[in-house]
Symmetry: C2
Subunit: 189 residues, 2 copies
């Protein structure tokens, strides 16, 4: 197999693939098992050796930071994917944002245990997510499909509040749908 | 002034009035000033002497417990007040429940600092509030004015989640209204 260099990264494709395999496995492991998962178990589930794991992520904190950054990047990218009806596009993305909040909470909590206080990347992530979501909010309001008395911050805070209710997804899912229904303009009677 | 005994309480009317004055002043003081308020300041704002204050409430914890119980009693009583349209009655009571959650949070937090763990009255209060709210929920669902996929617990948890967003009432008020709009059945398009 040729060891091609990926344009713009300076990293060989197989190294990037390993990094990606580790992050994918770690993401699933955190979602399933929570924060107790060991680095050895993450290596095993990724199908890479411990040396490869530690070459990519010298410690648990570096791995957690990369996972957190990946989640932020993915939810921001999803905001650009939207097409068609502005109200439906916003609702679809807010469901994705809800999953993001749920996924990042255990990673964020674990990251706080490995650091001396909130990390700059955490407050920066809110700014990045807000910037990504703003066009969706604006389009939905201009189309008359979103209440005009709600700001971007208020809408994100509302979804975070629902996602933070300490119950499982079966319990939260109808609450999320009711909330998405609620941010549409009230129907004239 | 005659010192009449109030039927069923064994307490004289002026003693009950003093107790009520203290609780009313303490409630306002906690809402305004938060948990820093002193017993001396509460006596001053109630217009009673320190001896009267301590005869009614031997310590801060007893006063906090009485305040907490009063809030629970008031929100439960408000559920019985409702008349007319079931959807409007439920919405009106849920706005009252939102205020209840906001008022009891600082009292509950302070109470926890004065005790060895959650008090039985706290979990009992959820049961009492649920029992009081159940007829409102049932009536609204039977009238087709409340989503059928939401339980009493889910609705209360949703309002608690909105009330727990750490922002002021101006910020939260449209979120509460959007939420109340959202728990009504979706309109056919």
């Amino acid at each position: 197999v040729a060891k091609e260099v990926v344009a713009g990264t300076g990293q060989r494709a197989d190294a990037l693939r390993n990094r990606d395999k580790i992050l994918t496995a770690a993401r699933a492991a955190f979602a399933d098992t929570g924060s107790d998962i060991s680095m050895a178990e993450i290596a095993r589930q990724s199908g890479v050796g411990m040396a490869t794991l530690y070459r990519n992520f010298p410690g648990r904190r570096e791995l957690l930071e990369a996972l957190y950054a990946n989640e932020v990047q993915a939810v921001c990218a999803a905001a650009a994917d939207q097409l068609g009806d502005p109200g439906q596009s916003l609702a679809t993305w807010l469901r994705r944002f809800f999953v993001f909040v749920t996924n990042k909470q255990p990673i964020g909590a674990e990251l706080l245990r490995h650091s001396d206080g909130p990390l700059p990347m955490m407050s920066e992530s809110r700014t990045r997510v807000s910037d990504a979501a703003r066009p969706l909010i604006t389009a939905a309001q201009q189309a008359g499909q979103l209440r005009l008395d709600l700001s971007l911050d208020q809408i994100l805070d509302l979804i975070v509040a629902v996602a933070s209710i300490p119950r499982d997804i079966e319990y939260l899912s109808p609450l999320l749908e009711a909330t998405l229904n609620g941010i549409t303009p009230p129907q004239p009677n």
